[in-house]
């Protein structure tokens, strides 16, 4: 007797309504302020606070960008911020990698030094900004690029060190040992084997350091004045006795997002691997 195979109906996947709703809500939550910021930056001043709001400006304008970048010296702030943040990031990554390697592989300073490094972040910034200000005034670092680069390097170092420390600790020693037996000095084993393998961790730490420097306001406010001021400090000027300059603030905010987004896109691949702190290895 020939058995008739039952017709198998392919199971149709049901539409994940809940998931779509959740993601939709999340998307709106994240993107709405960005949209509003962009919208505001190209609106004529009269449209800022109208009821009902202007959703799509009919006559977009770039006057706010022009004012923010030139009249309010936003461009100078942007350039200062780039110089200071990039320098501090590079230094932080460099020293952080060296220090973390030393802590992880040589157990430098026993168990206390690594914790002491992190403990530097326990200090509230307000507690040290005044002495730093006085010292900077005394040695001529006040309102200089170098001054802020030093300060930012020092502030970002603990987190860089700890991220890299975890990364190096998760890396098996045997590859460096193989390099030592193969004919490398300690420095070569570090530079030619450990550093390339730790690249995702280094990139992740550097991105964190850059974001911290890029958005830092408090120290920049206290330690700079007319020449080394950074982008975040420019925003102060938009709220003054004449009222709030919403368009200019929004325009500069959009400008300040660009480097962060560019960096995020460039580093994304490394960032995801770096944040797993050595758990994922090729």
């Amino acid at each position: 007797m020939a058995a008739v195979a039952p017709v198998r109906r392919p199971k149709r996947r049901s539409i994940p309504v809940g998931r779509i709703l959740l993601l939709g809500f999340f998307l709106v939550f994240v993107l709405w302020p960005l949209y509003w910021m962009f919208n505001t930056s190209i609106k004529p001043s009269d449209d800022y606070l109208t009821v009902p709001p202007v959703w799509f400006p009919t006559a977009p304008t770039l006057v706010h960008y022009e004012a923010a970048l030139f009249a309010y010296r936003g461009l100078d702030g942007l350039i200062n911020s780039l110089i200071i943040s990039l320098s501090a990031t590079v230094l932080s990554a460099l020293f952080g990698t060296l220090m973390a390697y030393s802590l992880a592989r040589y157990n430098t300073g026993g168990q206390h030094l690594s914790f002491w490094v992190l403990s530097q972040r326990f200090l509230p910034p307000i507690g040290i900004v005044l002495p730093v200000f006085l010292i900077y005034r005394g040695v001529g670092l006040y309102d200089t690029h170098i001054g802020l680069i030093i300060a930012y390097t020092v502030f970002t170092l603990p987190v860089s060190v700890w991220m890299m420390f975890a990364y190096f600790r998760g890396m098996p020693k045997s590859m460096e040992e193989a390099a030592l037996v193969d004919g490398c000095t300690r420095w070569e084993a570090f530079w030619r084997v450990a550093v390339p393998l730790a690249a995702p961790g280094i990139v992740a730490a550097a991105v964190f350091a850059f974001i911290a420097c890029w958005t830092e306001f408090f120290f920049a406010l206290i330690l700079t004045s007319r020449s080394a001021f950074t982008l975040p400090t420019v925003f102060r000027a938009f709220i003054g006795f004449q009222g709030a300059q919403y368009g200019e603030a929004a325009a500069l905010a959009i400008v300040s997002l660009v480097p962060s987004i560019a960096l995020g896109v460039l580093a994304q691949r490394h960032l995801v691997r770096g944040l797993t702190l050595g758990a994922v290895r090729g």
Partner: protein
């Protein structure tokens, strides 16, 4: 090629004493296997020879030169690691050539030697691949290639096969043995696997608690173990140990296991043993056979055994029975025994049996 001499070597990690006074002479071209249970200090000893650990005391000589203060790179040794330790960011050719490049060898020569090493190991088609694209066995071959390409004075192997599955392990074991036959360089090999130790070694150094328990040719250790530890560690299935009493009656000696009296092979030296001494009789499964002759041969003891556990392996069957209350395993021909519960006459070859002092567990 070089001999290795280790004298009075100690290694301490704080309060932990990992290596406790090792004296060891390894001849040029010898294949020495350091074997022992985990934590016995064998890997630490190997790493100290490589220069990856500093010794706390004692000297290490390679080729007649004290190398204690030499950096690993200056000792001219090559090492194969348990986890292969390939450089993940370099392809196979770069991995193998890395050591030569680090020593500033000109590129054409590096390429030629890499090609030769790859040919020897049959990995030429893999030269352009990255370690993550290789199987475990291929990775291990690359790791060995990285060692042989440098033509070092000594090869060090740190449990190189323990991450491989059983079949591949057998295959690679054969290849390592062949490699040693081909290049005849001094090799020091660490393992916890007694079969690797027995099959590969010219000499086995069996370690326990940071000290050498016994060293010698594999068959020497197997046939004449110095202690119950050595006897129990080498050989699979394990040697059976039966508690008994030594009886000396003039020239004839015997071991009493409750009701049974097993004669000690005549002419066997029992230096220092006294009448009534508590002993352990050590019997390997292959010392026991099914009796076929009408009367037992010289030096054998016949026992009517009731098999209570049978483990067939195909050609042979491991049969466990009780002798004076203690379990004993016999390795029998598969057709000699059919089922548990069977009664069989078993001949125990006392000429090959080991006798240990029950207290010190040292051989008598």
């Amino acid at each position: 090629m070089a001999e290795v001499r280790i004298t009075g070597l100690h290694k301490r990690y704080g309060a932990f004493h990992a290596v406790r006074g090792i004296d060891l002479d390894i001849r040029d071209g010898e294949f020495t296997v350091l074997v022992g249970p985990s934590g016995c200090g064998k890997s630490t000893l190997l790493r100290t020879i490589a220069g990856l650990e500093e010794s706390s005391e004692g000297t290490i000589e390679i080729g007649g030169e004290v190398v204690n203060d030499f950096r690993p790179r200056d000792r001219d040794v090559a090492m194969v690691f348990q986890d292969y330790a390939l450089y993940p960011h370099m392809n196979v050719a770069k991995n193998i050539g890395f050591g030569l490049k680090a020593r500033k060898m000109p590129k054409p020569e590096v390429d030629a030697r890499v090609a030769e090493a790859a040919r020897m190991l049959g990995i030429t088609p893999l030269l352009g691949r990255f370690p993550r694209q290789l199987s475990g066995g291929q990775r291990q071959r690359v790791a060995i290639g990285r060692a042989i390409v440098r033509n070092p004075r000594i090869f060090l192997f740190d449990e190189p096969l323990s991450n491989l599955d059983a079949q591949l392990r057998d295959e690679m074991r054969g290849e390592i043995k062949r490699l040693h036959q081909d290049i005849a360089t001094t090799m020091i090999y660490v393992t916890h696997d007694q079969i690797e130790a027995m099959t590969l070694a010219d000499r086995i150094v069996l370690m326990r608690d940071g000290m050498i328990e016994q060293q010698g040719a594999p068959l020497d250790l197997f046939e004449r173990p110095a202690s119950t530890f050595v006897a129990g560690f080498l050989g699979s299935p394990r040697m059976s140990f039966l508690p008994g009493t030594l009886t000396l009656d003039g020239s004839a000696a015997a071991i009493r296991l409750s009701e049974a009296l097993l004669p000690v092979a005549p002419g066997r030296s029992l230096n220092g043993a006294i009448d009534g001494q508590a002993v352990l009789l050590g019997l390997r499964p292959e010392h026991l056979t099914r009796a076929h002759a009408a009367t037992p041969a010289q030096g054998t003891f016949r026992y009517d055994a009731t098999i209570d556990l049978l483990q067939p392996t195909g050609s042979r069957s491991y049969a466990t029975f009780r002798l004076a209350g203690a379990p004993v395993m016999a390795e029998l021909q598969a057709h000699d025994v059919s089922r548990p519960g069977e009664r069989l006459p078993i001949d125990i070859n006392m000429n090959r049996a080991s006798i240990f002092d029950a207290k010190t567990e040292r051989a008598i």
